[in-house]
Symmetry: C2
Subunit: 156 residues, 2 copies
DNA sequence: CCAAACTGGTTTCATTTGTAACCATCTAAA
DNA sequence: TTTAGATGGTTACAAATGAAACCAGTTTGG
């Protein structure tokens, strides 16, 4: 019996990871070069910009980050005075996070750049290809156990 | 003028990354739990299993890894006696890497598991969805500047 | 021939990451 | 109540990572 061979370049986990890594690396220029943010910091900013006030747990769920990443990102954004924490009245474990004016300014500056980046990425595709990307990703997303898209230890 | 908002969950770089991360994390069980391999080590094994003898540089190109990752992964697999290095006759900087019998055994053990993993992942999709995933990923791959899919500092 | 530039690969150092332990608070059940 | 367990969040520690410096060896152009 023949030795079974795996073609790495056609292996789904590998292709996905490599693509995500390449895209993410290129995109990171926008938040890293301009403001020296890490990815978790960018996601935190994006989450708060999008939703207004959130708790750290909610942030982790929305942006699929481990709670330690959230904790560190929040600490850094707080240090920059891009966000403030306010204690919850009823439950003193919880803190509500909100962007400051400076945080909002950074967010407003970055959103158009992010959108332009995505637009340019997709502009290289035909309409059919664009549709395939969209529906392919959506299909994979719904196919994976939801829990896996969140961060493991968040859910349990 | 309204504040522009970015919906993170629909943002392509984020979706790709989250998906890749979830899939990769789940897949990593196969090489991590069984053999305590890291992802670079797994990729190195996969590359050598697939192509036979390769140089470290070739490995980095094939599997999109930074050369330091390759170097470390190779060192570890060598420590396990899963591969051996042989010097090149003409160019003494180069070393050719080959799996040992033990390395091959591990490879042969893992390939079917990897294939089963992928099969199960795709089995949850309809034929159309499967096609969309395939063509969507392919489209993105060809659309990104080739260089970006390799590792930056490899190419330059 | 010889120096400059280049290439394959390793190492060092600072940063980022994940796991697990941890503290504080809250909830529920006896 | 009291106490055992959950939950929000932080911290400590070890491992993984990336950038840049580095050490051979090799090639190139004068």
């Amino acid at each position: 019996m023949e030795p079974e061979i795996l073609e790495l370049e056609n292996f789904l986990p590998y292709r996905l990871y490599r693509l995500a890594d390449a895209v993410s690396r290129e995109f990171s220029g926008i938040y890293k070069d301009r403001h020296g943010l890490t990815r978790p910091e960018w996601r935190t900013l994006a989450g708060l910009g999008q939703h207004g006030t959130m708790t750290a747990t909610a942030l982790g769920e929305q942006s699929a980050m481990h709670k330690t990443k959230v904790s560190r990102a929040v600490a850094e954004l707080e240090r920059r005075r891009w966000l403030i924490r306010t204690a919850d009245e009823k439950d003193r474990r919880i803190e509500h996070l909100t962007l400051t004016a400076a945080g909002h300014a950074a967010y407003r500056e970055m959103v158009p750049l992010a959108k332009a980046f995505e637009r340019e990425l997709l502009a290289r595709l035909s309409a059919d290809e664009h549709a395939a990307v969209t529906s392919g990703l959506a299909a994979l997303e719904t196919s994976l156990p939801q829990a896996r898209l969140r961060v493991k230890s968040q859910t349990l």
